[in-house]
Subunit: 644 residues, 2 copies
């Protein structure tokens, strides 16, 4: 998207499709001169970098991004979709700001908003929102990251003083990697095992002051700095240890568990497991945001690498005179164009998840199974989008050769800053298991009392035939599949309905056979682990197949809703490339299971090559369609090319 | 390898196999307290980091690493194998030092040694070797990296003064990314188009002083700093522009092209192309070194991640009490163990290439086709090893979760520093094309006058049936294949000979069908490019198949030469995992071409899982077998685990 050149109407049509429901939020940020454009920090000192990040984050406080995350009761709009979409846009900018803002407004603010009650909202949310009260989200410990349920920090109620005593019993209990803890945060949302009347009630969240107004650590709180990291240098990650730190009972975020005036524990949810998953479920926004930011960063990388690839030449044609534009090489197209297609698919799937989140948050959609499905979808999309970002940014760096290695060409920060996205807000492997849990239990509430492995094993026993839940564009997808010319023919993949059926079939088969394998589990505990573990690769495949199908459905639905025109036609072709390159990547599976013959499989590979060639003339339009302002994508290497 | 604990005799046996012919060089560096152990630079200033790197590099000047690269005429040992092996060891240490040393002793020193003659050796090599004369290797330009033949810098002979005039005619001609140029180098080995008597004779190398003793730029030389990069912060990459800079005619490195006293150009090689490829071929050492360093870095990453994986726990067993060691999860084994097996395979293939290089350098092996084969092998091994390193270090980082993102746990530098290895010393895609060239032309000298594309196209026309050249372990491999129970049986892959035949068959088929496709090229130039380009993915596949086969042969040969014992038995199993995971990664191809049935393919996947389980108890021994001293692998996260 260039402001200097005549606007490409096809790119505009495409951008409208990608912008989705919160287009206004996107446009406002594109026009906002406070947008934290990514400027490589180069040799900026650590303290200066952190200060710059804090200032850029503070500048965002008046935007939709922050107001959307605030309930109307404290002056916000409560438009959660605008908030997440706004943060997604920041994913095109400075990623330290993206994370700093995500921690403050999303995690810290989200914990108070979702786990706290009115008294916490009134007292803390205004300061959270204008950053006069910098906070942090202290969940992960050195010894337990993915397994939050096993954290060791305790919050023990002392009936004598009616206080909660926060304590770190061991080195493994140290809160670790906590964004904001090293420098800025004054209040921490601390997750701890709540002990009341000598009984443990599972993980709860307590607000604990960690610094006074002067910035000094509070008594009993030991703060240390995580120091140098791979990226996100502007984010002050730190570590916290608590030595019997006392806070008033009111500091317990008490929506799902409280201590009454008689010092008794009360909760609207009886089961410890269900309570735990309910509390964590309300924090789904953070996971959705990380996926959104990863997708945005991948699109930035592709926009840079593809534009460079259409200008950079290397080696001459056989005429010995003209040099070949590198994106005219098949090998180069194969690196960038399937990833471009997948980026479109994931961005559209992301929009659907944000819509669903907003619908549930506003009460438009209700029900436990809808919430569960959102959590699984968010987990899966976070996993595949962050994996895609890591892979895509790496490929784009390499596609720009030595220039790609220079910080002024942006890949340095894009790579280093996003690298941890596959880990934080849930390790991707763990998240994909959450997806499988949803598939096998069909998001039924019956399994809420079990942990993930338990739910998967019991779900597998219940499942007779895999139910494909089409929650988005259901009738459209059904219509397309019904109109497809039959799955077995040579031309199954030439038709959108046939493609959808093909993706569904893979998911169903993987799910049903997974369930069969897991049913072999006996009641013997050791055997239960062994059977589950032996099927782990199968389970992860099933989760990926599910996400591929869901992503394709989002793509198809978005095209269906788009206005007729050349932009829509181009998206149809991009969708084809997404389909064929996804099938290509999994074609061994399709052959192993009799879904593709050897010659059909070769045909899929050939079709990817053809689609790359067909899309090659349109790549400029397609990266313009991302809607990333030129000023956000400035690189030294493009300036260099202009001077040749 | 721990100095504190009782030595594992099995690990020792394995280390002996990996150490190979230059075990003494490796042992000397393991015991050398000047070894540049990697200490994350954290918040060290840029100038301090560069100075530290220079000092650490200078400390190496008395080692085999430097003396091995010097001819005996100037006080060296001329043991090139020791030199490259020594640098490989530094790849386990500080990678800025690895690159700084590689530039000074390998590229700069190598250019003078191989492209220069006695007068250059005497005058410059001693200073090169003790770093009193810091140099740089100025080949790449902003406009031309992979296509060195098209660089724009000129070196024009002025018969009036008998000088060479070095000139950068445009921005595209700027020398770029030149290690050492920004700060330390005083003398540059500048590659330029040599113009004598108004005629251009192709790329030659000229020594050009770029700084005086005080460090100031020489007249006419404009030096700038590349500034911040993704990694290798201790290496001072810079840019050079020459404005009619004059140097004496004697500064031309004149082994393959000279100017006589009458101002006439002379060369022992008539063809411009052949001369160019001959000159570049002598620089093969740099490429071999980069592959070696990448392999070492990948092994360091695996050693760290695997040791962590055997200690770190997460989530409980169904008993609800004990926590699961993360490397007991199948998913985690699948991330790390196939990469461990490939690391062994590549390290052994690397040893063979170094042996061959040394044999050619010493004159023990002669002939143009041997040299060509070495170049192709070095190019291919550099490509697949650097790709493997990028992939493996990334996976290891993720396998250590949030801890993997902290600089003190080493992945920050391992990732950032090695990232450019896929690019420098030849972009991997371009290098794989060089491999294909060798395969199609069978390293015959007939094609030396053609560029890569031309040689491939003509080679394809000549090739009738693909000849598998077994230059290493030829008779052993033949014996194993002959003894295999027939390729078509279900058990083809259960026998080493059958595995070798399977790998060979893939390479032959890909090569022969590639040749058939390329023969369709007509004499029409545009068509020639189109046909070549349409087959580019096929060509890259053929090159990869070739490298897989060569790597397996190296593994098999090394096992055959090893002493009987449990170490050797363990290596047999590691070799099996390399075979099955390689077949698994390519199983779609094997099914498409009727080499595997659907059920056999599923069996391959299952066998990888089984082998992971069988190797799991031996991972400690296998990473000890890498022979990396514990002190070089210190991380904060292992200290943390010890404190739980």
């Amino acid at each position: 998207m260039s402001s200097d050149q005549i606007t490409d109407p096809v790119a505009d049509q495409i951008r409208t499709v990608l912008d989705g429901r919160w287009a206004k939020t996107r446009q406002a940020l594109r026009a906002d001169d406070r947008f934290p454009v990514a400027v490589p920090a180069l040799e900026l000192g650590l303290e200066e970098h952190r200060q710059r990040t804090l200032e850029m984050t503070t500048a965002l406080t008046r935007t939709d991004l922050v107001r959307g995350g605030l309930p109307p009761s404290v002056g916000g709009t409560g438009d959660l979709g605008a908030s997440v979409t706004g943060l997604e846009m920041i994913g095109h900018g400075d990623l330290s700001v993206f994370v700093k803002a995500g921690v403050q407004f999303g995690l810290f603010g989200g914990a108070i908003a979702n786990l706290g009650t009115e008294r916490h909202h009134e007292r803390y949310l205004p300061g959270m929102a204008d950053l006069s009260l910098p906070g942090c989200f202290a969940m992960t410990e050195t010894g337990h990251g993915s397994d939050v349920q096993s954290i060791l920090t305790t919050a023990t109620h002392d009936p004598e003083t009616d206080e909660l005593v926060i304590h770190s019993p061991s080195h493994a209990a140290r809160k670790d990697y906590i964004g904001g803890a090293a420098r800025d945060a004054r209040l921490a949302a601390v997750f701890a095992q709540l002990v009341v009347g000598g009984e443990t009630h599972g993980v709860h969240c307590v607000l604990v002051p960690i610094r006074d107004e002067s910035g000094a650590a509070m008594p009993g709180v030991t703060i240390s700095d995580c120091g140098s990291k791979m990226g996100l240098r502007g984010v002050d990650n730190g570590r916290l240890m608590f030595d019997e730190v006392r806070v008033p009972r009111e500091n317990l975020l008490n929506r799902y568990g409280d201590i009454d005036d008689e010092g008794r524990y009360t909760s609207p949810i009886e089961s410890v497991n269900r309570r735990f998953f309910t509390m964590l479920g309300t924090l789904v926004r953070g996971r959705i945001t990380v996926g959104a930011g990863a997708g945005a960063a991948a699109r930035s990388a592709l926009a840079i690498a593809i534009r460079y690839g259409t200008r950079r030449t290397q080696f001459t044609y056989p005429d010995g005179e003209h040099e070949v534009v590198i994106l005219d090489y098949l090998g180069h197209q194969r690196k960038l164009l399937p990833r471009l297609a997948k980026s479109y698919a994931l961005a559209l799937a992301q929009n659907r998840v944000v819509e669903k989140m907003a619908a549930i948050d506003s009460g438009e959609v209700t029900g436990e199974s809808e919430q569960r499905e959102l959590e699984a979808r968010a987990a899966g999309l976070k996993a595949i989008t962050t994996e895609h970002a890591t892979d895509t940014i790496q490929t784009c760096r390499e596609a720009c050769g030595g220039a790609g290695y220079m910080s002024l060409n942006r890949f340095t920060d894009l790579k280093a800053d996003t690298d941890v996205f596959t880990t934080f807000e849930g390790d991707n492997t763990v998240l994909l298991q959450l997806v499988a849990k949803g598939m096998l239990t069909n998001y039924a509430s019956d399994f809420a009392d079990l942990d993930t492995r338990g739910a998967i094993l019991f779900g597998a026993r219940q499942l007779t035939t895999s139910v494909i839940e089409r929650t988005i564009g259901g009738s459209l997808i059904q219509r397309l599949i019904s109109g497809a010319p039959g799955k077995d023919g040579d031309d199954a993949l030439l038709d959108r309905g046939g493609q959808l059926a093909f993706f569904e079939d893979r998911e169903s088969h993987l799910t049903e056979t997974l369930a069969l394998r897991l049913r072999r589990v006996s009641d013997d505990e050791a055997d239960s682990f062994a059977v589950f573990n032996a099927a782990q690769d199968h389970l992860l495949d099933a989760a990926r197949a599910h996400m591929d199908r869901v992503t394709l459905e989002a793509f198809v639905t978005a095209i269906d809703e788009a206005a007729q025109g050349p932009g829509r036609d181009l998206l149809e072709k991009v969708c084809d490339l997404f389909v064929f390159s996804t099938v290509e990547a999994n074609r061994a599976w399709f052959m192993e299971h009799g879904r593709l013959s050897a010659s059909q499989s070769k045909g899929v590979v050939a079709r990817v090559n053809e689609l790359c060639a067909e899309l090659r003339p349109h790549v400029g339009t397609l990266v313009d369609g991302f809607g990333i302002p030129d000023a956000w994508l400035t690189t030294e290497m493009m300036d260099d090319l202009a001077r040749f």
